[in-house]
């Protein structure tokens, strides 16, 4: 990166390639269970770009999509026909989503930040002129550049206040259905009204990744019947609503989590995710100022 301290030039001199968080991709013919293992086994990974053998981008598979298949909300016809075991061994190509956030690899940083800010998009995919995958730019790449900086926005300005929770007595299946229904990636777990844990889609897929040898269908059945407390993260990472967003960035990175619970004293008042930070900071502070902060 070359830095010239004239605002108009700074943006152009920071290359988007510096923000690529991964250039790993699944293949269209990989079985779905492999994608599940890759997502569950990867630190902080929630989605995978899927390419064909020559590296051309063909789609994206997310943790939520896999969870939807596991609870029978998607691929129902295939599951009825073949059963869950065989379904999970079908190619990921049948289950993924089309990739819609594709940019050429020479796109500038400003463009990507504008797109992310306007659409609250969690990622963009970079390709070369032939459509071959060059990397995925996710929120984490921007957060790492914001680490240690004072952002000048309070957490409560960007947090989500639509809270979905699950009770400690619930099963993993209950939590999975709730996450799919509410289209969220994480649920605070409550006991007597108090937060005692957090369960994420990645936590559930991680269980599957380690249990697959025992037979997939049996493993899924076993995992889904466990209590959430066996799977949830008990160490709660919280932040106060009045804190600067910079503090949330620090906690997210140090604890390697994708979202933080926001507590006012002991009351849960919101959740702040990586995309909340990147997207809303871009909106509130403006692209130029955000880029300056990342220098």
């Amino acid at each position: 990166m070359v830095i010239i301290h004239k605002n108009n030039y700074i943006v152009k001199l920071m290359k988007i390639s510096e923000f690529v968080s991964s250039n790993f991709a699944a293949k269209v013919n990989d079985p779905l269970i492999k994608a599940a293992s890759l997502i569950g086994g990867g630190k902080g990974r929630y989605r995978l770009v899927v390419t064909d053998d020559d590296g051309t981008v063909r789609g994206v598979i997310s943790g939520r999509r896999i969870l939807e298949v596991l609870i029978g909300r998607r691929a129902t016809s295939v599951i009825e026909e073949k059963g869950l075991d065989l379904t999970l061994n079908e190619p990921v190509n049948l289950f993924m989503d089309e990739a819609h956030q594709i940019f050429l690899e020479d796109v500038n940083l400003e463009t990507v930040l504008k797109y992310i800010g306007e659409n609250m998009a969690g990622y963009v995919i970079l390709v070369d002129q032939s459509g071959r995958f060059k990397g995925i730019v996710e929120e984490i790449g921007f957060l790492e550049r914001l680490k240690g900086k004072k952002i000048g926005i309070r957490v409560e300005e960007i947090m989500s206040v639509r809270l979905h929770t699950e009770n400690i007595g619930a099963t993993v299946c209950d939590a999975s259905i709730r996450m799919v229904n509410e289209r969220v990636r994480r649920l605070p777990i409550l006991e007597g009204g108090k937060v005692v844990g957090l369960i994420t889609i990645s936590d559930i897929l991680k269980q599957l990744a380690s249990a697959k040898e025992a037979g997939i269908e049996a493993a899924v059945y076993d995992i889904f019947n466990r209590k959430v407390e066996e799977v949830m993260t008990k160490k709660i990472v919280g932040v106060e609503p009045d804190a600067d967003v910079g503090e949330a960035v620090k906690s997210l990175l140090e604890m390697d989590v994708s979202g933080l619970l926001v507590f006012r004293r002991e009351d849960l008042v919101g959740i702040v995710s990586r995309i909340d930070i990147v997207g809303k900071t871009a909106r509130i502070k403006g692209i130029e100022q955000m880029v300056e902060m990342m220098l």
């Binding site: 269209v28 064909d52 020559d54 051309t56 063909r58 789609g59 909300r73 998607r74 691929a75 129902t76 016809s77 295939v78 026909e81 190509n93 049948l94 289950f95 993924m96 989503d97 089309e98 819609h100 956030q101 594709i102 940019f103 050429l104 400003e110 463009t111 504008k114 797109y115 306007e118 659409n119 390709v127 032939s130 459509g131 229904n181 509410e182 289209r183």
Partner: protein, 403 residues
């Protein structure tokens, strides 16, 4: 007849092969699409391309429309407006009776052997009451992110009876559909359709001359239905502001009278009246003979395209303009922000004054318009072409009836 192989020069052979591979899993599936009109608006346009393409890859896809009186379409337009957030709409018992009765009368269009029945938008929504077999999908093309709650609550019961619901954007999913299979499907454009195919400069010029539009003078235009949500009068305001500085500017407002759009005529008349007989404002419709090829030619002649919608299902006319290398000045409604990247493929604006300033810049700096237009075409090529839509469509069928 569209053939999937014809798309290979644009999207590559690999993409075409991957479509064929997906299609193998649902080959022979009998699919029935039902909407309210064969002509006018984005849905008819999407179906006119997707149905033949689906057939070309091995599905047995068909497309029917429901028939109704003008009063029925008056009610369904009210419903449309209510779902897009018009809180003033109230459906009385007589309106509901007409809505349901007309749908009952249309029950015979549902074939018993259809394996997947895709019902588009609210007009034919209650057809689900006739479900005997097959998987039923409600494809909602409108922005239902903050609907009129009272109206939505009268319809949501029907939606819940479907096997799946499909929305254009994540944020359009109503909050009370928990437990349903919900899919997201970005609309796409067909680069080989008459509306988007390459035209020669001579063809474009002929169309302009036929309608008295001067090819030598700058042109700004909006292609959209005549509808309050599309803000055609706002486009006239922008034109007037820009013309204060650039007095040779021309405005083209191009729309169509869809059979299901009961308010179209009223809003067309309002727009004509608002234009006040200005000879440099050309308000053209299908009734003037402006069909797909003419729309294509007009879009290619724009120095800048406008999309000033206050609400938008997705705004595919934005992708159409961008595909033709024309930058778009648009509001932040619906899917416009996915297509217009501010300062990259066009400009996003918050008000009429800002739109006027951006249009001026684009007319005064043709090199800038060219750069933005080039980036716009690239953005559409990577993200909004019909081959992607077809793959999502095939995956939905695999999900529902795949073997």
């Amino acid at each position: 007849m569209a053939r999937i192989e014809d798309y290979a020069p644009i999207v590559g052979k690999g993409e075409v092969e991957s479509i064929k591979e997906l299609a193998e899993h649902v080959k022979g599936a009998k699919v029935l699409h039902v909407n309210a009109t064969k002509f006018g608006g984005g849905v008819a346009e999407i179906l006119s391309r997707v149905v033949p393409l689906a057939t070309s890859v091995g599905l047995k896809a068909e497309w029917e429309t429901i028939q109704g009186e003008k009063e029925f379409f008056f009610v369904t337009k009210k419903i449309h407006n209510a779902l897009q957030g018009d809180g003033s709409v109230f459906l009385d018992e007589e309106m509901m009776r007409l809505y349901l009765e007309t749908n009952r009368r249309n029950a015979s269009i549902i074939r018993d052997d259809a394996e997947v029945i895709v019902i588009h938008d609210p007009q034919p929504l209650p057809l689900i009451e006739n479900k005997k077999g097959g998987k039923w999908v409600w494809r909602c093309h409108i922005d239902t992110s903050s609907p009129n709650i009272e109206v939505w609550s009268r319809l949501s019961g029907y939606v819940r009876k479907y096997d799946a619901a499909v929305f254009s954007l994540e944020r359009y999913i109503p909050k009370d559909l928990q437990g349903m299979r919900v899919l997201i499907d970005y609309p796409t454009i067909d680069p080989l359709a008459v509306k988007n195919m390459q035209l020669t400069p001579t063809e474009i010029q002929k169309v302009l001359e036929r309608y008295g539009v001067d090819p030598e003078r700058p042109i700004v235009g909006q292609v959209a239905r005549f509808d309050p949500w599309k803000n055609p009068t706002g486009a006239i305001d922008v034109f007037r502001m820009v013309r204060n500085e650039l007095d040779n500017l021309q405005l083209l407002l191009i729309g169509s009278f869809a059979l299901d759009d009961a308010e179209g005529e009223e809003w067309y008349n309002k727009t004509v009246k608002y234009a006040g007989g200005d000879k440099d404002i050309h308000i053209l419709t299908n009734l003037d003979g402006v069909m797909d090829k003419e729309v294509n030619a007009f879009q290619r002649s724009f120095n800048a395209a406008l999309q000033l919608s206050t609400r938008e299902g997705f705004g595919l006319t934005v992708a159409e303009a961008l595909w033709k290398g024309v930058p778009v000045v648009g509001t932040k409604a619906g899917g416009i922000t996915l297509q217009v990247i501010d300062g990259v493929t066009g400009y996003l604006v918050d008000c009429i004054e800002e739109a006027a300033e951006r249009v001026k810049i684009l007319i005064k700096k043709p090199w800038l318009a060219r750069e933005l237009g080039y980036a716009g075409r690239q953005h559409v090529k990577l993200n909004f072409l019909i081959t992607k839509g077809l793959k999502n469509y095939l995956r939905m069928h695999i999900d529902l009836v795949g073997k």
